[in-house]
Symmetry: D2
Subunit: 379 residues, 4 copies
């Protein structure tokens, strides 16, 4: 299979997420980074592009220039990753999809539900991939959880419990730090802070693992640090499409928690627990039996886990390889379409625009519920 | 100090909680078990009393006989423990308090808020101790958490996160098990199942550690196993008397969780985490510093922790010694009153009737909220 | 069954181990503490005895007076616990056994192997119990390990790995602390420091769990803190009576380790791991299967574990209840002999004088090996 | 900086270690895989090379052909990785060094100490890098441990405790599995099995972290599974160049252990503990203070840790990124030499031929000691 031409928008020097995308795309050798509009400052972007081996004529001043130039090339981009500030995701993603270029967009996919609905429709119309980077879903044991649920190991799912709590926004004296301030400014962050930033991952995870969608929510938002217009701690209860009960806590003021993305699923015949910070073990408790530690890389896991697992048992795998799994899935799906063949079914677990829409709709419902005295609010 | 005369109502053969009470009372040698009405079946109760060294004339057929006989004795009871079915707590506790006998009552203290209010008033009028057995508050490191919060180590408390989740009511085929069935029958269990049984401990813990009271709640209850009239999974958000935000999850269908009583407290200048299943370590994270593991028995803990700690560092202490700490507190407080001296201030951390009232009122508010679409409900 | 009369030698005010013995003996109500020679200072001992409810005439100035007076009483002691400085264990234990009184002796049972051999013979001649307080063997899950090995769950045992490492003797500036100094003074401590103090527990645990005895050892001793005449860190390899390979590390300078008594057993068909600091979980890995967490108090454990387990699953049990299990075993065995009936076979797992001899012999062999360039040394 | 030309010998289809090398080399985009002799079967090797994007004329039948052809090219290899069976490491590494090509060799670097000495001399003579892939030393927190020790945070180091235990060679019925059998055949594996395979990593880690070399060892080897000519379980005590005491256990029959590479270091003023399976946390205990959890990616770590750390705190990093750190170091060192500039001093922590020699010498000394009744044996 030929290597795909890959472009990156945003993710320039000093970006937190940019290196992880490049790492994830590099791992399998299925992409060549050929084009970029990496920085709001065009000169910085071009200088940085050179260090990444991007040819000068494909180091663009901005995404508009990139789209214009790439659309006309024979060797144009096979995939573009959108890693810009949240408020720009929609127009960039939309423009590249319209040009027939497959997109991997950082979360949140858009700022409004209506925009997300547009993206979903557009991707379908254009027959292009629009993936959203809920990267934690690329972990081998997360995929194994999904498979265990799907094949019925837990029976009907009763309760899903998800959390994503950290403490890195707890320092009140840090209020003027520009990396922090925008997150609590509705002008820049939109309707929600920690729920849209972290809780949305936990929401996606709950849906990904159970195979159900959020149907209605009751939410409580709190702004614990003085002066914040948006929430830094939130809790929601929800109900899912096939009756599963959901509980979700997210916080940015939980001093001592580093990341705290954890997921537990409880069904009629068993329960599962997984934590992102120690992702190489999954805890499985069959009803009335002892808890088992399922090790990534061990014999007897599902094809989904085996495919996503890259190093031998007992050797830690981390988040960059979860990203890499999504990039590899996309390479397979895009490559298959280009080659007019069916994609490997195991490559179809990447998070889609529909997932982006679903989780954003849940965030909006949570905002509405929180504004309305925690009243139950349908999506 | 003379040994106190102790009586036990309920807690007979086969009881789960009875042995732990006897163990807790035995540990420090401050009580002699002299009287009991141990079983609904008088003969069983008397036979079992004999094995515990209770004299035949003080092995009573029922609590009424016990109260009548003990009230008239010169060597009458100094403390009675009420470990009977929940619905009987109120009348027994009330009767013994009225007779001037100090009481340690199992939780819930009563079935209704109005009853709990009566008990609080009565204990005050009679100048008698009425303690409620929120036994987990006797753990040394739980007391240390409370002290750290009280002395300001965490600054203003922003969020308390409490959980109590187990999976022992998850087996639908177990529905006719009499040990289980009554818990989901409103006739016997009252207005709530898992919230009143387990969540109430987490609620008390949140109040005990923060030193605040629950002011209002928004709750969601779910009955996950078919046929249950009461909830087996619940989540509540709450606000506390000094503004702390509360989040609490409790479940009886969380297959794989054994006990799952955990408490996290987050303030302006630090965070704490503690789990009942591994009670000898407390995790303390000062703002912007690494997490520290505070070991029970280590140098530098508070007087409250030191007093409650009984064996040297590195040797596990468990739940029976937490109970024992409460029994020792009560011995000190009752003994001091009998001797007309001031009690050791370190003995004043046992859970009181007021605590019993507060947490029951929170449960009732949660029930009301859950019945009312999760609407915020003041206590 | 009548309560046994119990006496305590040593374990006075300020003792670390005394409270744990009293707690362990108190838990089940099977003993009355009736006599004591609690302190090297007779007045201190008598004053403290009074606080424990010992009658003045049975609060003795020293063990000799205690032995003389108790031997003549009709209601004489049924069991005496020896918790004095190590160098006195032998003569006290010997004297009470000769008088026909059952003994529970703190470890090490004696200072020399020849003395231990005498005790073993004497206990047999007199038909009296001489137990040695390897208290960790009283934990429910330790007994379950032993049962799993004995019934063949692991097949032939290949390797046992034991550790007991702490860091409380690491502070060189603490050299003159009298609580510490004697441990590294051969005059008072004998031939070994940390091996005889801590490593001996790990040795006993290895034997207890495997059901095998140490046959030969190769040892390396190190004195890491300047000025110490005895070792504060040691490692031994050993071979056991049925071929099991042993590895054992013990240290008193391992800063950060609190207690560190852990045991792992590996057989042909599975492996086990247990740690004293978190004693309520045992990790069992059947060959080619996932590791299972066996919870104390769960269904399906052995009768040995069930009997030793006192509170319900998910509630931590600690070291004092492990001691209590040994006291309860002794009450059963002594009571059975007094009543001329067979003792409950489940009560026969307490550590005996033979165990005391075996582990002391292994320590001596280790000392000899260490002095001889780690040469293999038979017991 | 221009990308380096990289070649791979061994590591073909089905290899366990090959993918990790390619992943590690790919992560930073500093290498182009241009040449390979990937498989003992030339056709398989060439076919697989094509899938990796290696041009047909640089897909070689064997390493000799590769060396011959590459030596004559202007765009010849900048680095070759040797990932072939152990017995071939020496001649390949030697040949490429002699041709002036830098080498990264899998461990063990050679089969004998004399060979390793030759490699060390040759690399010095030729002024070429010869690195040995003790890949675990690339983890950020391992490098932080080394820095903490080097800058004196722990004072003089007293004891290092290292382990590497797994259970994947425990199944006796697996004896004929060719992946397993060669490891216990002295013809193919040399003088040692688990010590040379796993223990050698723990040995290197002990040296890497303490900055000391092994000076003498006392070892015990055991063959626990019937029919094995080489050891599958070993324990060694050792002394290091500056007096540190070492303890090391390694096993291949420890059912339930997955990987079990752990390292603990104890000094006068503190202790450290790290485990490869959960590599993103390091536990640091200052003398007389509580244990602190140092998180990879947190503020306040050393430059060595910061440089080796790639994703934000709370996101797991795994073994492939540890490999990548070594590849990035080599790119910097080789690039600096080619550009006649000084290399970044932070890039100088990769494991060298001298490390390969040192640890092999320790293995040989251990073998000799084990054959000689565990007698102390100098290196």
């Amino acid at each position: 299979m030929k290597k795909l031409n890959w472009g990156l928008i945003g993710g320039g020097e000093g970006s937190q997420i940019g290196p992880t995308h490049r790492l994830g795309a590099a791992v399998d050798g299925k992409y060549t980074l050929v084009a970029g509009a990496l920085d709001a400052d065009p000169e910085n972007g071009k200088r940085f592009a050179a260090t990444l081996g991007i040819a000068p004529d494909r180091a663009y001043a901005d995404w508009q220039a990139m789209l214009a130039a790439e659309s006309g090339r024979a060797d144009r981009l096979d995939l573009v990753t959108v890693a810009t500030p949240n408020a720009t995701h929609f127009e960039i993603t939309k423009a590249f999809l319209q040009a027939g270029i497959d997109v991997l967009c950082e979360k949140p996919m858009t700022m409004t539900v209506a925009e997300s609905q547009q993206i979903v429709r557009l991707a379908a119309e254009k027959n292009r991939v629009c993936a959203v980077n809920y990267g934690y879903s690329g972990y081998p044991l997360v995929r194994h959880m999904r498979t265990m649920v799907a094949r019925g190991d837990l029976g009907r799912i009763r309760v899903v419990k998800a959390e994503f709590a950290h403490g890195f926004h707890a320092d009140a004296s840090d209020a003027d730090n520009p990396r922090l301030r925008w997150r609590y400014d509705p002008e820049q962050a939109g309707v929600s802070a920690v729920m849209a930033d972290c809780g949305i991952h936990a929401l996606h995870m709950a849906c990904f693992v159970t195979g159900q969608q959020v149907a209605s929510v009751a939410a409580d938002f709190a702004s614990c640090v003085d002066g914040r217009a948006l929430e830094d701690d939130a809790m929601i209860s929800f109900r899912m499409s096939e009756g599963c009960v959901g509980r979700l806590w997210t916080s940015a003021v939980a001093v001592g928690r580093m990341h705290g993305l954890t997921i537990q699923v409880f069904g009629e015949t068993g329960g599962l627990r997984w934590a992102q910070e120690w992702p190489n073990q999954l805890f499985w408790t069959p009803l009335n039996g002892p808890t088992q530690t399922l090790e990534r890389g061990s014999a007897g896991l599902s094809p989904e886990a085996d495919r996503a697992s890259r190093v031998t048992i007992g050797h830690a795998e981390g988040m960059p390889l979860a990203f890499a799994n999504i990039y590899r899935d996309l390479a397979e799906v895009i490559g298959a379409r280009q080659e007019s063949r069916a994609a490997d079914p195991l490559a179809l677990h990447y998070p889609t625009a529909q997932d982006g829409l679903n989780s954003l709709a849940a965030v909006y419902a949570a905002v509405k519920s929180a504004q309305n005295g925690s009243a139950w609010t349908p999506l």
